[in-house]
Amino acid sequence: MTTPQLAAVAAIDPTATAAGDTAWLLASAALVLLMAPGLAIFYGGMVRSKSVLNMMMMVLGALAVVTVVWVVVGYSIAFGDDVTLGLFGDPTQYFGLKGLVEADPEARIPGILFAMFQGLFAVITVALIAGAIADRTRFGTWLVFCAVWTVLVYAPVAHWIFDFDAEGHVGGWMANKLGALDFAGGTAVEINSGAAGLAAALVLGKRLGFGRDPMKPHNLTLVMIGAGLLWFGWFGFNAGSALGASHLAAMAFVNTLVAGCTGLLAWLLVERVRDGHATSFGAASGAVSGLVAITPSCGVVTPIGAMAIGVAAGAICALAVGLKYKLGYDDSLDVVGVHLVGGLVGTILIGLLASSDVAAVDGLLYGGGLDQLGKQLVAAGATLVFSFTMTALIVWVLEKTMGFRVAEDDESAGVDLVLHAETAYDLHAATGGSRPHFGGN
């Protein structure tokens, strides 16, 4: 078998050697895997101490469920031959990754590695949504949501934007017909998860005490550890999306570093001016904002462009996270403010800042006209609307059928204890206070 996507990519740099490119893709895939625990830790530190374990389990549960679903049918929907209008891939073509198990001597990089690398993008996207509905959801229903959403929302959107046409293969509409640019997932990952988070938060409603209690992060050292691991993993996400150890990968790497840095600085500046204090939580959030915005654009802008994107994302997201208090939706960990807004910033700025020194087109500011900007707006808008609508529907159905939100008493006692029969910390000297069940009592 030949994965057409890979053939297309191989054409970019026909002189590259398989082993070197494969080595970098193996490392990148491992880095993207690390983003799952990284996100679990990042999110875990942000919630109150009574729900940190539940948050971590939502992320790890997403990892487990999405991986299985992806292997079975998700990859095939995303990267199988298009069945209709560039909207949906053939779910039977790579069912259970069939056809990818045997080595293909013609493939520049192993097809099965590409499939799993893409699968890890699905994992992160789904896991991100958990942040919007922290502290108040049933774990079993969440796992079901992960499976359904992967099939009905993620895989189609990935097909649209990531599945390139190739000889003997028809891919998705955004990448091929529309010609929107999204290097590593501004639409499929960032806008998609952010819009889904907004929908889920609206359908499930606010946490008890939202707007009254501070609900501040219970452990900012966890937030920093998580942010560090995320940034590290993001190099696999972005530079790995070059699918080879090439100059393009290096470019994506540099832009990923630069935009994270300027995102951090811009967020801190907004805080300093507005609140009088620059916070560590702002530093972590600012870096992530920059990384979100550079995700679609890391392979199409120069380092100077990356600086600008980071600054824009850091500043705009710093302002956007306050919206939830104004508009009254409880997007608990700011998936909307950071991922939806940051994803929009990065996807749209491609229309302004793409440089033909790096990519195939020039953005508006580089003399390229309005054309690419229009394409970017269409791609961003289509993803936002589709994801928001579908997610609202899925969450609503699950709430009505299985029940998605926990009971009030359980929420106020804390989901760690109630759902998982655990508490995160036991740092005390007095270890007494619990009594084992002996025999049958």
Partner: protein
């Protein structure tokens, strides 16, 4: 002078604080404590073995107050802390012989 000690549910403290402020009481000392009583904690599971958690987190409030204020304070705490479910806590009053402000050395009512 009396010492009023109240053991209440942690998430009611904000309520109690507001009720006391209405009375003009604006000083107290809080301690995070563990309560043992009729209310039972949740069960925890560890490696398949279940454990009853016997202790429940509570907050203890201490207020040194003048005798005439005591009843009002008790009433305020009572009504702002009660949820009607087992585990709401206790309030007790004990005698205090003297009180002093560290900063100034003032004693008696002037010290609180």
């Amino acid at each position: 002078m009396k010492l009023i000690t109240a053991v209440i549910r942690p998430h009611r403290w904000e309520n109690v604080r507001e009720a006391l402020e209405l009375l003009g009481i604006s000083g107290m000392t809080l301690t995070e404590v563990s309560g043992y009583g009729r209310q039972k904690g949740h069960t925890e599971v560890y490696r398949g073995a279940e454990y009853d958690v016997l202790l429940v987190p509570k907050v203890r409030i201490e207020i040194v107050a003048e005798e005439p204020d005591v009843d009002g304070i008790i009433q305020a705490i009572q009504s702002s802390a009660a949820t009607g479910k087992i585990g709401d806590g206790k309030i007790w009053v004990s005698p205090v012989e003297s009180v002093q402000r560290v900063r100034t050395g003032e004693t008696g009512p002037a010290a609180i």
